[in-house]
């Protein structure tokens, strides 16, 4: 049942049918619905923040391309989307590099990825108490405090600096070091 104008209430199959008909807002709703799940899946599989972000872009480009072929078998398209993510990941592993066919096909240019993006990704991936939150807990006290305040609680550097009675620069350094350590640990594990 379509609820005109309120795509957040649309079912997955309604959204995908609309995406096939060039409804950008439907794609936005679908993207927001599944971004976190896809990122968590990709993080679990790759344990690499940057690769997960890169792969997520390819997965959603493939979702856009494949929307018109979606045939609902469940109430949700979760298994279908995860299937696309699995295929993208598998193709990337076989080729030894992140797949980008779907992005090339629709003309999606590479996007900048910086530390703040990785912070957000870490936050999303840690949302379900996965491996990242364990690694954050294992950080040295100063770095753990800074990373948790910034990444998990989404507080500004200025707020954190005021609370910890140090400069913003010091907080930035601690967050950066903490994230680097988490990334290192992910690779090592």
């Amino acid at each position: 049942m379509v609820h005109p104008g309120d795509r957040d209430r649309w079912s997955d199959s309604e959204l995908l049918a609309a995406v096939a008909e060039r409804d950008g807002e439907a794609f936005r709703a679908f993207y927001r619905r599944y971004l976190a799940s896809i990122l968590r899946y990709l993080m679990r599989e790759t344990r690499d923040l940057e690769a997960a972000a890169d792969l997520a872009a390819e997965v959603f480009a493939a979702v856009m391309l494949s929307a018109q072929r979606y045939r609902p078998q469940d109430d949700t398209a979760r298994s279908w989307v995860i299937g696309i993510a699995r295929n993208t990941l598998g193709a990337s592993r076989r080729r030894g590099r992140v797949e980008d066919r779907a992005r090339r096909r629709i003309g999606l240019e590479p996007l900048d990825l910086d530390d703040s993006d990785l912070e957000r990704l870490a936050s999303i991936a840690a949302g379900d108490g996965g491996p990242i939150s364990e690694l954050v807990d294992a950080l040295p006290e100063a770095e753990r405090q800074a990373v948790k305040s910034r990444v998990l609680e989404d507080r500004s550097y200025a707020q954190i600096a005021a609370e910890l009675r140090c400069s913003e620069q010091v907080v930035r350094k601690r967050v950066s070091r903490g994230l680097a350590r988490v990334r290192e640990q992910l690779k090592e594990n």
Binding site: V19, A20, R22, D23, G24, E25, A26, F27, R28, Y31, R32, L35, E45, T46, R47, D48, E50, A51, A53, D54, L55, A56, A57, F60, A61, A62, M64, L65, S66, A67, Q68, R69, L89, S92, R93, R95, G96, R97, V98, R101, A102, R105, I106, G107, L108, E109, P110, L111, D112, L113, D114, S116, D117, R120, L121, E184, K187, E188
Partner: protein, 379 residues
């Protein structure tokens, strides 16, 4: 606006513009070709199929035990073709220790795709770490308790171009010798290397003519040798010098040797400001060991960051008996900022044989081969 917001905005715009429907075929469907093109495509597929069979015909049949991280580029095809160890699946045991990964800064190295080999009856383990434009071979000795050696490892790197049959030196074998990781005075050195598939046998020969056959494991070998021996390896009957690591410092070259001038046009032109290597924090070690002189460097390659590939600059630096290649790679263009970083240095190689079988460079006596080296050693 962050990465995921940008991604959302662009995908929404592309959806609305109908980018996904423009060509009216499924995401990964069969492209439409004419009959001629289809026939050509089929012949390519046949070739790819054969390659696929060859690539999957490694000695390790099991599937990857753990999910390896995905790299951002493809391995140089010549490496895959020349080294069978790269044609087997990556396994969890292949994973490079994090301390070693930190040095993976040149040649577009892909540490997640490294393959490990354990040398039988020793505590030695070696990795072949492939890259988009070259590769490194790392060697480390596990502690008596079997733990990874976090105190030190040895490594040598080489550009993939030297593995091409047309320019390979001495069959493209990759040979080096140096002190063991524990580096106690008086201990035997290690001669180690990895041989391309085309090489079927290797012997070590001292300057006095004493020969010993070397056992290889998946093309890798590592044997203890007398540090005072001037060693050569004979691979399929072809003699190659083994490059000594951590040994005799070279005499710094004061001018460009004639052999190098003949081999490289860039050494025959005047030096300009662009030929100067801007920063080389690790370079002193190479200079010390191979007598290379940064004041004689020439910029051999400079490419901007394009199409997802980082900017690269490569300098050739002549030495006494060797020419060293210094490569610096910029940050990935999808990151901010993307200036050239001091990403490392790599590879000393003798090159004359690559251009002419009759060249007598380098100056070591009776040398007819090459190798490369880097010196990532922590103690």
């Amino acid at each position: 606006m962050d990465y995921f917001d940008q991604l959302e905005a662009r995908l929404v715009a592309l959806t609305a513009s109908g980018a996904h429907r423009r060509r009216g075929r499924p995401a990964f469907g069969v492209p439409r070709f004419g009959l001629g093109a289809l026939a050509a495509a089929l012949s390519v597929l046949v070739v790819l199929g054969v390659v696929g069979v060859v690539l999957s015909a490694g000695s390790h049949k099991q599937a990857p035990a753990a999910a390896p991280p995905v790299g951002r580029g493809a391995i140089s095809t010549s490496l895959v073709r020349n080294y069978r160890v790269l044609r087997r699946p990556v396994e969890s045991a292949d994973r490079l220790p994090a301390a070693y990964v930190r040095h993976s800064t040149s040649y577009g190295l892909l540490p997640a795709l490294a393959r490990r080999v354990v040398i039988p009856n020793t505590r030695l383990e070696m990795w072949l770490e492939p890259g988009q434009r070259g590769f490194c071979v790392l060697i480390a000795e596990r502690t008596p308790s079997g733990a990874a050696n976090t105190g030190g490892f040895g490594g040598t790197c080489q550009p993939a171009a030297l593995q091409q049959p047309a320019v390979a030196i001495g069959g493209g074998a990759f040979l080096a010798a140096g002190p063991p990781m524990s580096a106690h005075p008086g201990e035997p050195h290690l001669a180690s290397g990895v041989l391309p598939d085309s090489v079927t046998s290797v012997e070590l020969v001292t300057a006095a003519g004493r020969r010993s056959t070397v056992t290889t494991t998946d093309g890798f070998f590592a044997v203890r040798v007398n540090p005072n021996d001037h060693l050569y390896a004979v691979t399929d009957g072809r003699r190659q010098q083994i490059i000594p690591l951590g040994a005799r410092p070279g005499v710094t070259a004061q001018s460009i040797p004639a052999g190098l001038q003949r081999a490289f046009a860039i050494f025959r032109r005047p030096r300009t400001a662009a030929d100067r290597i801007p920063s080389h924090s690790n370079f002193g070690n190479v200079q010390h060991q191979f007598g290379v002189n940064p004041d004689l460097s020439r910029l051999a390659l400079s490419t901007p960051a394009v199409h997802g590939a980082p900017a690269i600059k490569i300098w050739l630096v002549p030495g006494t008996g060797f020419v060293c290649e210094v490569e610096k790679e910029g940050a990935h263009p999808a990151r901010k900022p993307a200036p050239l970083k001091h990403a490392g240095w790599s590879a000393a190689l003798s090159v004359a044989q690559a251009r002419s079988g009759s060249e007598s460079y380098p100056t070591e006596p009776a040398t007819s081969g090459s190798s490369t080296r880097t010196g990532h050693r922590h103690q």
